[in-house]
């Protein structure tokens, strides 16, 4: 009760302009103090475990056995495998399949589901991939702190090895195989709404082609057409295009009510509204991510 009164009085004083709740100088000094006292976590606070390794192993086995047995008991109660009256096959699935063709225009119901009904989920996935690459760049990018003479020598040796003509077999394979692999990946991306596949699987295939080329011809040659700048431009543009496409459908009524996008004839390559461009965007993001991971982990730069 007393505190309440106190607060009320303070409020009155504040309205009258006698006191200030938020003192700028005080908060700045407090923040500075905080920064000065910031320290890295101390592991010494965690006491060393006194248990013997054998006891720990037994304990782990017990925990794992309990988890497995409990989950197996649950599986025993689940509906039978392959049963049509499984409660997971409810009206949602019926809707996705029976009105999927006229609402999304995609023959591949999964593509219609993940890129139309649940497109925001896929947008989140693309963002997760982008964030993962950014984190790996932060952790592994070559800079003064994260670089020593040994690694420099290793990279120089790698470059010397790339220049030598000893890698006949992999060069031949890279020359003739990587275009075919990339072409197949592009086919999978472009046919995402007609056949199994789509942005994620096709993007990984194209990324594998890029990695093969990089292995065969070295990192220097790869950098003539794929640098950090290209990577950033492609990734950001694709994310923005995805965002713009989905915002359009969202603002014109989430289910394309009103201003609808032309669906085309189901089964043609140019059909199903936004699914084809969205597949291309996702495919490019996944390609960049796959190659980016490889390049960052091996060379420390894209």
């Amino acid at each position: 009760m007393k505190e309440k009164k106190n607060a009320l009085q303070k409020l009155k004083q504040w309205i009258d302009g006698e006191i200030t709740f938020f003192d700028a100088e005080e908060s700045i000094s407090r923040q500075q103090k905080k920064q000065q006292t910031f320290c890295f976590p101390k592991f010494s606070r965690l006491k060393k475990a006194q248990t013997s390794p054998a006891a720990y192993r037994l304990f782990c086995m017990g925990v794992a056995a309990i988890i497995i047995l409990a989950l197996l008991a649950v599986v025993n109660e689940l509906p039978l495998f392959g049963a049509a009256e499984d409660p997971t096959n409810n009206e949602v699935v019926e809707r996705y399949i029976e009105s999927g063709i006229e609402e999304t225009g995609a023959i591949n119901f999964v593509a219609g589901m993940i890129l139309d009904y649940r497109a925001f989920d896929t947008f989140g996935e693309s963002n997760v991939l982008f964030l993962a690459v950014i984190c790996v760049v932060m952790l592994l990018q070559k800079d003064e702190k994260n670089y020593n003479a040994l690694e420099e020598r290793e990279i120089q040796e790698d470059e010397l090895f790339d220049k030598k003509s000893g890698k006949v077999l992999i060069r031949c394979a890279g020359k003739y195989l990587s275009p075919l692999v990339m072409l197949y990946g592009i086919y999978v991306i472009l046919n995402g709404h007609l056949s199994p596949g789509g942005g994620f699987s096709g993007g990984s295939i194209v990324g594998a082609g890029l990695i093969l080329y990089s292995v065969a011809y070295g990192h220097k040659k790869m950098q003539t057409f794929f640098t950090m700048k290209t990577f950033t431009i492609i990734n950001v543009t694709c994310l923005l295009v995805y965002c713009a496409c989905k915002s359009y459908s969202f603002f014109t009524g989430a289910n394309h009510v009103g201003a609808s996008v032309p669906k085309g004839i189901p089964g043609m390559i140019l059909s199903s509204g936004f699914i084809l461009p969205l597949n291309i965007c996702v495919g490019m993001i996944v390609t960049c991510t796959m190659y980016g991971f490889y390049s960052l982990f091996t060379k420390g730069e894209i």
Partner: protein, 123 residues
């Protein structure tokens, strides 16, 4: 016994347990993340097994049949896709962290890393 018919789910559970054991018992950090990936894989197997219906075909329009009782459940496919993407991202991020730890301490053994960091503080 449902367990003999639900054998895909049962195998998924056992795989999950194997991954969990790996995560708990290994000292090597990379082996720990291999265990995490085994757990992910078990989850995908479980979801894919839940979506299957006997005698039906993959959810891609064939012969012009638009009928929900002709195709299997497409929802688990989308969920597995999400899971794979998140698993790839988490694995890459954690392996990058492990690489930095290795550069700093020169070992991948958890106990060694804890011991070295303790010694570094007490100096």
């Amino acid at each position: 016994m449902n367990l003999s018919i639900n054998y895909y789910s049962a195998v998924a559970i056992v795989l999950f347990g194997i991954g969990f054991m790996d995560l708990l018992m290994q000292n090597n950090l990379i082996k720990k993340f291999i265990g995490l990936n085994i757990m992910d894989t078990a989850l995908y197997l479980f979801l894919a097994a839940e979506g299957y219906i006997t005698g039906r075909i993959a959810p891609i329009l064939t012969d012009g049949v638009v009928d929900a009782s002709y195709y299997i459940n497409p929802v688990p496919a989308g969920l597995v896709l999400t899971g794979i993407v998140v698993s790839v991202s988490v694995t890459a991020f954690s392996l990058a962290l492990v690489q930095r730890l290795y550069k700093h301490f020169g070992t991948l053994n958890m106990d060694e890393i804890m011991r070295l960091s303790r010694e570094g503080e007490s100096e």
